[in-house]
Symmetry: C2
Subunit: 174 residues, 2 copies
């Protein structure tokens, strides 16, 4: 089970970025996204609509306490991977991480409490340059699944893209 914890969501201001985080989590093979910060029904609805149309399984959930969620996952023997520019290079660490099948991936968040660096089993940097939690999440999942996630099939889809050289083709289930 691969879960993603997105820290400190603020409705409106973060809605697009959090939506993209959730869609990346889904498209690249994570099972669920949990977000802390404020509850946002619109965010949940938009992600559930994507899963409904394009297939799953994928879940989105809110938590009132990121720290409690992290501690709960640790108790269930999940390895906690916090993605941060300050962490150790992913290319050196992913081999160790891939041995574990139950992972909680943490992504920021404007300000990440210091406690999270300590709770994490792995603090991982995807490049040592400032960029984006979306970029980090995407590359982390791609490395973890060794690129195989690009061929993932989704269940219960109503719509599916048929890849084409220069046309938009969508197959729809009746």
């Amino acid at each position: 089970m691969i879960a993603v914890l997105r820290l400190g969501h603020r409705p409106f201001r973060d809605s697009r970025v959090s939506t993209h985080c959730a869609l990346i989590a889904r498209a690249f093979g994570a099972d669920k996204l949990i977000y802390s910060g404020e509850h946002d029904q619109k965010l949940e609805d938009s992600i559930n609509k994507v899963t409904d149309n394009w297939g799953g399984p994928f879940k989105i959930e809110h938590t009132k306490s990121a720290l409690k969620t992290i501690k709960d996952f640790k108790k269930k023997n999940f390895k906690i991977c916090h993605l941060t520019v300050y962490g150790l290079p992913i290319q050196n660490e992913i081999g160790k991480i891939r041995k574990y099948k139950n992972i909680l991936i943490i992504i920021g968040g404007s300000k990440v409490p210091g406690e999270i660096y300590q709770l994490a089993d792995f603090n991982i940097g995807v490049t040592q340059q400032p960029h984006s939690e979306m970029g980090s999440l995407c590359i982390f999942l791609d490395r973890y699944f060794e690129g195989k996630e690009l061929n993932n099939k989704f269940n219960g889809w109503k719509m599916k893209v048929i890849p084409n050289e220069n046309k938009k083709i969508i197959e729809k289930k009746k």
Copy 2:
């Protein structure tokens, strides 16, 4: 030379997403980001500040006409790679694309004009699932550079992260 063309920027509404696109372009080895839509001095200033602090080279530029920019790049023998969910799977196409050293990568944009699908030498899908232009750009560059971009060094930096297991360490040039 690897350039990224971001279509249809709208200041305020797109500012965070376009900022993340530019930062991903820079962190993952592209040389510049050109954006169409409205001119946005704040966007340019924030990216130039990152390049100034964390190193370069990296440029950000505005264009009044995305189509003219694409045609200009075509004349200069750049291959045009348009990233779209409808395109052919990246894992099948990247080997062909990697042979070319001058690439213009196009990313949307809420509505991409049909003409762009025709002008593109490659319409490329990063998964066939809806997610994010940031995810697509990130994976495209990572595949194009075969992961070597994770070790990129930047020139003229004033600040640099020293990777660490659980601490934030930044080296600053005096």
